[in-house]
Subunit: 292 residues, 2 copies
C-alpha cells in the first residue's frame, strides 16, 4: 500500500487570477492498494464512489502516460478539504491520482514531471502547482503549451482565515460571469500589484500587503455570485483584515488576520449572518504533496 | 557644489507594462551649484538650456514641497543616456532635480521620500523607482494614490544589449496606439508570466526567461511604430537572444544575450539594415542614484 498527503490550495489570489496559488495546512490523504482487478473506493462520498471518480480517472490517464498497467486498485481517502468550495479539492484528487500511478508502478518520483501531467489533466497550474510543490507559486502556460511554475516563499507567520460557507459556487458559473474584454487600466491595476503582493508574502510585510492588495480582473465580477460577500468583507475589515480575497473561484473567502485573538470576534459577527460561515485558521503548507 | 549620478532605466519590461523596470549601467551625472540668482545651464543641449528644463522645473517643485528656497542655481550635466529612446532620460532629470533640492538645502536624504516626490512629478513609478533604488523593481499606485515599489534582485551576469536606433518614438504616440480594452485572455497572458520573469531575473535562469518572456498588453501594438522591429528581433534570435523587449516605450529594443562574444555578429547583421542601430552592452545597476 502507498499513501500520499496532498494539501488544499487557494488559487486566483487577489490580483493573481489564473496565476498565484498557495498551499495550506488542510489535507486530503489517499491510500492506493493493488487488488486483483477492478476498482474499490473507501471513504469517498457515495456520489464519488464510481469509475468517474477523479482520482481513479487521473490514475488511469497517468498510467497510460507512463505506459504502465496495474491489475486493479483500492483507493481510500481521508479528506479534510471541503468539496466545491474553492480550496482545490479537485486538485488534491488529480495530484493524488498521478502520484498513485507513479507509486504503484515504482516509477521514480519527479515533482516537475508530475506537475506537467497533473496540469495537462487539471488545466489550471495555479492550483496544481502549490498542491505539489507547497508554498506560493506563480504559474503560466508557455506558447509551446508547457506549464511553468515558480515557487515563492511565504513567511510562516501568515494566518489565513478561510471562511467556508455552506453553499457552493460552481467553477463553470464563476467562469461565465467573467467578461471577455476588460479595460487596459483594469489589467494594469492587477498586473502592477502582483510583484508587490509576492514580496509582501515573502517578507511578512502586512502594511505593504494591505496597501497593494486589490484586483479588477475577476473579483469585481465574481463577488456578485457569492452570497454575503460584502457583509463578510465588512465584518473582517472591521475586526482584522490585512488581505481579503476569493479563494479559487469561491465560495470560500480568505481573510488574512494579523492576530489570531481576533478570530473569535470575527466568528461571533459572522454568526449573525444569514448563511453559515465556518472560519478555519490555516497556515501555509511548505512541503506540498508528501508520500507518507 | 553637489553631484549626483542617476542610472538609465528600461521600463515596461516585457509582460511588466507600467510595472517592471530595471536600472542599467549607463548614467547621467548632474552638478548643482548655488549662485546668486537665476539659473545657469552647463552641458545641456541648447534646446534644454532654458527655464523649462526638466531638472530645473523638478528642482523648483521639490523645493516647494520641502518648503525651502535657494537664491539661484547652476546645473551641469554629463549625459550618456540617449534622449527620447526609451531609456529613462526624463527620469534621470526628474530624479536629479529632486536630489538637487534635497542636497542644496541640506535636507536629510530619504530614498523613499524622494521616490514619492519624483513619482508625483514623473507619473511612472516603473522608471523612477529603478533610477532611485537600482536593480529591478515592480511598482504600482495604490487606491490612495500612493506610489509603491518593491525591489527585486537581478543576477549580475545578465547582459542587456541595448539596440539604440537613430530615430525617436514619442511617448505620446506610443500611448496612442494602445487599445482601451483588451481581451481577458491577453491580460492573463501577461499577468501569469510576471512572477516567472521576476524569478528568472533573480536566479539567472536563462532557459526559464526564454520560455516565459512574452507580452500581449503593449508589445503587439507598440512594435508597429518602431521601424524594423521585426528585422532586429529576427537578427537577435538567430544569433543569441534569451529575452527581447521594447525598452520603455521605445525606440530602443533590448536584447538579453548569453555570450558577449555574439554581440559582434549581431552588430554586423544590424549594419545591413536601413536604420542605424547602435548596440550598447549594459549590466544591471545595483545602487540606483548615488551622491558623488
Amino acid at each position: 500500500m502507498v499513501k500520499v498527503r496532498v494539501p488544499a490550495t487557494s488559487a486566483n489570489i487577489d490580483c493573481g487570477f489564473d496565476t498565484l496559488g498557495v498551499a495550506l495546512t488542510l489535507y486530503a490523504t489517499f491510500d492506493f492498494e493493488i487488488i486483483e482487478s477492478g476498482v474499490e473506493f473507501v471513504g469517498f462520498e457515495e456520489r464519488f464512489a464510481n469509475e468517474e471518480n477523479l482520482v481513479y480517472v487521473t490514475l488511469q490517464t497517468a498510467l497510460k502516460k507512463l505506459k504502465k498497467t496495474i491489475s486493479g486498485v483500492r483507493i481510500s481517502i481521508q479528506n479534510d478539504v471541503p468539496i466545491s468550495r474553492g480550496l482545490g479539492s479537485s486538485s488534491t484528487c488529480v495530484v493524488a491520482g498521478v502520484y498513485g500511478a507513479y507509486l504503484l508502478t515504482n516509477t521514480k518520483l519527479d515533482k516537475q514531471e508530475i506537475f506537467t501531467i497533473a496540469n495537462e489533466i487539471e488545466g489550471h497550474p495555479d492550483n496544481v502547482s502549490p498542491a505539489i510543490f507547497g508554498s506560493l507559486s506563480s504559474s503560466c502556460t508557455t506558447d509551446g503549451k508547457e506549464a511553468i511554475t515558480v515557487k515563492y516563499k511565504v513567511d510562516e507567520r501568515f494566518n489565513f482565515l478561510a471562511l467556508i460557507p455552506d453553499f457552493e459556487t460552481s467553477t463553470e458559473q464563476a467562469r461565465k460571469v467573467m467578461p471577455e474584454k476588460i479595460s487596459l487600466k483594469d489589467a494594469i491595476y492587477s498586473l502592477s500589484r502582483l510583484g508587490s503582493v509576492i514580496k509582501a508574502f515573502e517578507t511578512y510585510n502586512l502594511t505593504l500587503l494591505k496597501k497593494v492588495m486589490g484586483d479588477k480582473i475577476h473579483e469585481p465580477y465574481r463577488k456578485r455570485i457569492i452570497h454575503e460577500y460584502q457583509e463578510v468583507k465588512k465584518i473582517c475589515e472591521k475586526v482584522d483584515s490585512k488581505g481579503f480575497f476569493i479563494s479559487g473561484s469561491g465560495s470560500t473567502l480568505m481573510n488574512i488576520v494579523e492576530c489570531v485573538e481576533n478570530i473569535e470576534k470575527i466568528k461571533e459577527d459572522l454568526a449573525k449572518l444569514k448563511y453559515n460561515w465556518h472560519p478555519v485558521l490555516l497556515k501555509v503548507d511548505m512541503e506540498g504533496t508528501v508520500v507518507l
